[in-house]
Symmetry: C2
Subunit: 355 residues, 2 copies
């Protein structure tokens, strides 16, 4: 995928502002906080792939990486430690370091007019922070705010697939069951998966039970009957779709897959659904790829999605008379579910702002 | 689990006929067709565990096992080949050899008054063949028929969990997404899984794509948008629950788990659901075990279910006002999902018949 494709998507008319905007803009000073994490590393990879207009790149991690160097697609970079007495001067910072860093550093950057794109859940429910999947609710980027939140990886997979259907048929409710990969739990998740495969120690696993040869129906903790991950899917989907009372039933499940989240979705609509029209809308929606010929083994899988920036949709079928549609979605949780979506937000913001 | 428990279940009152029946009955002549398959082997194991009253045991397989011997829990057994000119004289035969053998051999046995319990899908939709999960619809065994069908493994897992809720709150519809293990595809599925782990050839895999590190949303073939497995869940659930028009939306998915099927279910009911009552009904229902304390990692998983004869239910939570309930179910697809359920049917039939 070249840069222009990724910005414009397939349907250029939906992105008409591009015609009035110079692109690329002048290069900017970029920071990545949490660069040693799995999403941090993926951000570097995607910024390079997308030829993001970078004037200066600085990367940050926790104190245990002090005085180390990172071999990156941009050459060897010194890893810096954030210091509240010397807030770095940046135009744009990607934060992928969890909620504690988001809380303490988000506004430090924003107060200095650094655009913040945060991957943690900390800002997602804040009314001032746009929560954006660019293909879905790009207009929410028309904000004077400096803090933007990147949605949860499962949320992105679900909402990206439902949006074209909602636009046409008006979503009434949906039920989803997820099949989420271990890399959604970060490097610790990947390490636990690899340790279990090789038969070594399970001491540091972030999972409550063995994950190889198993599935675990509980992601993120919670004192309630609903897991944290399920709460995120519910509240974020409602916010992104501007449907604050949308009924959502979701079960979030970890599966022994390295990378790639999948979701079985059954949705109900207010208008009668035409199956061919639904497939046509999905096929032409920016960032979505329809793979739907199951008797020839053509359906989305996490293996097919891994390493791509697309949301793959298949198994599209009518039910509940013509008011329901079931579908199956897979996407790379580190790319479209995280780093690629964050870079897309950055690309859109650059087009909107002067530096 | 001792034999009486497995027959009587937890709620003895529901099995009152036992008081009028001598148990165990006199030993019978038993056959297993398809003994070299994965369910055939599990049948031998469970017949032994259950101290099934066997007078004579004969085992059958396809021609490629001719003149071989099987090391079984009942000692070394000669493997026989079925011959239409010499139909074996048996009181009871378990058939676990696919639809073609069921079609050609089911009535040959039945005409000779041999009770047939068939594991394939061939008889399941036949109106004359009771399709039975003993804890759910035992009364369907009150039949003069000789052919009985064992339901699909995913169907058993789902319907066993829904039955106590349906009895109290009246099921209106349900949506299910399955997480089905490779042993559901038989020995070939297990071999493909083990070959992929060890990195050897994938030539004979029954799966349309790699299964290790992947999930595959298509089980059984079909020319339609709905897979064969999904059609089975829909038609069998309706038959077992005697709800011929029950709306069911299901997505059947293969996951890299050796043994143990799991299902995320969201159900709607006609009556208002009381959560505590729902949990109480599940906890005391025969064959069901409630594991529902997720913050302490207490939820069903296929690893917990493997090797047991129970249907484990957890993650029980209200939604859709009080008309909806979501839950998560795991059970051993080779045991409660197949061989154990078949042996339970046989136990019940023995109590009903004279030999």
């Amino acid at each position: 995928m070249n840069k222009i494709d990724s910005v414009v998507g397939k349907d250029q008319s939906a992105f008409g502002f591009l015609r009035d905007t110079e692109y690329p803009v002048s290069p900017v000073r970029v920071g990545i906080v949490g660069v040693t994490g799995i999403v941090g590393g993926k951000l570097l990879e995607i910024l390079k792939e997308e030829s993001f207009p970078i004037k200066k790149l600085r990367v940050f991690a926790s104190a245990k990486s002090e005085s180390t160097f990172l071999d990156s697609p941009f050459g060897v970079l010194p890893v810096e430690i954030l210091n509240p007495r010397q807030v770095p001067e940046l135009d744009l910072v990607f934060m992928a370091a969890g909620t504690a860093i988001a809380r303490s550093w988000g506004w430090r950057f924003a107060r200095r007019k650094t655009l913040v794109i945060d991957k943690s859940s900390y800002f997602r429910d804040k009314s001032y922070a746009p929560l954006v999947i660019p293909e879905v609710n790009e207009s929410d980027l028309d904000s004077s705010q400096f803090i933007y939140a990147n949605p949860n990886c499962a949320t992105i997979t679900i909402v990206h697939a439902l949006k074209p259907l909602h636009d046409q048929f008006e979503l009434r409710s949906f039920t989803a069951a997820t099949y989420q990969s271990v890399s959604g739990a970060g490097l610790k998740g990947v390490q636990a998966y690899e340790n279990e495969i090789s038969g070594s120690s399970l001491d540091s696993s972030p999972f409550p039970e063995r994950i190889i040869g198993n599935v675990i129906p509980w992601i993120g903790d919670s004192d309630e009957a609903t897991s944290d991950e399920e709460k995120k899917v519910i509240s974020e989907s409602r916010k992104i779709l501007s449907l604050p009372r949308l009924p959502i039933r979701v079960t979030c499940v970890r599966v022994p897959v390295l990378t790639g989240h999948s979701v079985a979705i059954s949705a109900d609509f207010r208008r009668s659904v035409d199956l061919d029209k639904a497939k046509e809308l999905l096929a032409k929606f920016p960032g979505v790829e329809l793979i739907d010929n199951p008797h020839d083994s053509e359906f989305p899988t996490p293996l097919k999605a891994m390493g791509t920036n697309k949301t793959f949709v298949g198994r599209v079928r009518l039910d509940r008379g013509k008011r329901g549609l079931s579908l199956w979605v897979s996407s790379d949780n580190l790319r479209k579910g995280a780093a690629f979506n964050a870079v897309q937000i950055a690309q859109k913001l650059l087009q909107r702002r002067k530096f």
